[in-house]
């Protein structure tokens, strides 16, 4: 992990009609860092990820990725993403899906598909149509899509959903390896243990606001308490 900023969000706000999904979020993530966004459903985690990726337009605020104002093609050239439940073209094989997504953006390096498949242990199943995939296999293929262009930044939304324990362990090892090689990872999750074992820092979100932000090392077992407090806060508002 370095001191250089990978992501810098300033006053990030998103409003859908009357509903405030994200409210004046300031967030800085460093290169090589694994950063976790924690919070209950509807807290604004996915919206923040989507704004960073240019899928959702911020109502206010600015986002800089590696010093470049997002959204722009240069930012996505350096990013890999898996947002929400990974979706594919079910009539195509895993490999064909990867080829379609690779051709949908800047060219990858030679052998990019094979490397991405190998990284998520999907080489053997690559020639099967994705409609035959289990949820866990779909999650792995979604991860392979994110890795296609050897990104400097990975943005992952609930990346371990549907993975079996072995898959979760493989995923954790992959993230740590990538982080070690300088890749920045921003992930959202419900799984406290996953965040605790993987992330360098974590932000707690409730009602579109960051309620707490600290390094995992400084949590000293209070992760669950903070998370539950965020949940309570959101539930009270819902009532």
């Amino acid at each position: 992990m370095t001191d250089r900023e990978a992501i810098d969000c300033r006053g990030l706000t998103k409003r859908y009609g009357d509903r405030l999904a994200v409210s004046a979020v300031d967030l800085t993530i460093h290169e090589g860092e694994i950063f976790g966004l924690l919070g209950p459903n509807g807290a604004g985690k996915t919206t923040i990820l989507k704004m960073i990726l240019g899928l959702v337009r911020p109502t206010a605020g600015e986002i800089f990725v590696f010093g470049t104002k997002a959204p722009c093609p240069e930012v996505l050239r350096q990013a890999g993403a898996m947002v929400e439940k990974p979706s594919f073209y079910p009539w195509l094989t895993g490999r064909q899906n990867l080829q379609v997504f690779l051709d949908s953006g800047p060219p990858g390096s030679p052998g990019a598909i094979d490397r991405a498949l190998a990284a998520v242990d999907m080489t053997e199943a690559a020639n099967r149509r994705t409609k035959t995939y289990s949820q866990g296999m779909g999650q792995r293929l979604g991860m392979a899509i994110a890795l296609l262009r050897s990104p400097r930044l990975l943005v992952l939304d609930e990346p371990t959903n549907g993975l079996d324990p072995e898959g979760i362990r493989d995923f954790r090892q992959l993230m740590l390896r990538l982080s070690g090689s300088g890749v920045t990872v921003l992930l959202s999750s419900h799984l406290l243990s996953e965040v605790e074992r993987l992330c360098h820092r974590v932000a707690f979100l409730s009602r579109g606001r960051i309620t707490d932000l600290r390094s995992v090392g400084a949590l000293q077992g209070s992760l669950e308490e903070i998370y539950l407090a965020a949940m309570d806060s959101q539930t009270e508002v819902a009532r």
Partner: protein
């Protein structure tokens, strides 16, 4: 851009596209068969003296114009009016017979062109510039673009490249390429059927057309159908970015087009009807047998649409549709 279009075309390797192709081929074969059967019935009449102006005059007989005495009316304006009406009725009857003969002649000529593999493309061009072509293109647009939202793949596609106009352009180009591919397939099937028609519904030598004549008939129609298909592609893409799902794309595009076509029935609005424009651009008339009849229904008193009006209308559809789609797509949030 070529890679992006290639990616879009890869996505088309799906059962939906096969089903559309099958439907189009069956429809084209059915139309062509009907056309041959009709022409086969009428070729004798068309080649006889009965279809000539003299023959029609002989069939219509002498005009039965009564005198004022026979009408029991005194000579004067009232009698003149009745006689004028009788003359008009006689003339209308002769015009109808001439019109019918022309229609049969056109049908036989069309069938003759259809019996030449090179000319068989005319039926394919007609179909793709008709409501059948529109349905095919809208189904493609629903699957290829609206389906990106329904299947949830749109977010993954847009995280590969943030320049949405490029994706929109690739969608449009790939839709046009797919539609033209289907047109060529339809033409190929009709060309194969042409040999069958030649043997089953053989025509007298005087009615047969040369390869050069067949190309001269089909070529311009095929070229013109390209603009109509492009307009359908733009409408399909526009419907996709408005509804953001596969079924909505199909329903909005098709419903909108049918309503737009129906304007042809409202006299002052006929000139802004897409049906009127397509008829003008493709040279469709209400005569004879053609898939162009799917656009017919111009009310009496309205002049046949001109080629220029058709061109201007369809180009406007393409340009306005592209601009609106781009603005809309650019501003869309890809929410859950």
């Amino acid at each position: 851009m070529i890679r992006l279009v290639r990616a879009e075309l890869r996505k088309a390797a799906r059962p939906l596209v096969g089903a559309i192709a099958l439907g189009l081929v069956l429809a084209a074969a059915t139309f062509a068969w009907q056309q041959q059967a009709l022409a086969n019935q009428e070729v004798g009449f068309v080649n006889s003296s009965l279809s000539t102006p003299e023959g029609i005059a002989a069939s219509a007989g002498q005009p039965q114009i009564p005198t004022c005495d026979q009408l029991g009316l005194p000579p004067g304006p009232q009698c003149d009016q009745v006689i004028a009406r009788a003359r008009e009725a006689y003339q209308a009857q002769r015009d109808a017979m001439t019109h019918q003969a022309d229609a049969y002649r056109a049908a036989v000529h069309t069938a003759a062109v259809q019996q030449n593999p090179l000319g068989a493309g005319q039926m394919a061009a007609w179909m793709f510039a008709s409501i059948l072509g529109a349905i095919a293109v809208f189904l493609l647009a629903a699957g290829q673009f609206g389906g990106e939202w329904t299947g949830g793949t749109i977010a993954t596609v847009l995280t590969q490249d943030s320049r949405r106009w490029r994706l929109l352009a690739a969608k449009l180009i790939s839709l046009l390429v797919l539609a033209e591919g289907l047109l060529l397939l339809t033409w190929a099937v009709l060309a194969a059927l042409a040999f069958l028609f030649q043997s089953q519904y053989s025509m007298p030598a005087s009615n047969q057309v040369s390869a050069a004549e067949a190309v001269a008939v089909a070529g311009p129609l095929l070229a013109r159908s390209l603009l109509v298909t492009a307009a359908f592609c733009v409408l399909g893409v526009l419907a996709a970015v408005i509804t953001r799902n596969a079924l909505g794309t199909l329903l909005l595009a098709l419903g909108g087009l049918i309503i737009w076509m129906a304007l042809v029935l409202i006299h002052p609005l006929v000139y802004v009807s897409v049906g009127y424009w397509v008829s003008g651009w493709m040279g469709f008339t209400n005569d004879g047998f053609s898939s162009g009849q799917l656009w017919s229904g111009v009310p009496s008193g309205v002049s046949q649409p001109t080629e220029l009006l058709g061109l201007v209308g369809l180009v406007a559809v393409v340009l306005v549709g592209v601009v609106v789609s781009t603005i809309r797509f650019q501003r869309l949030d890809i929410a859950a």
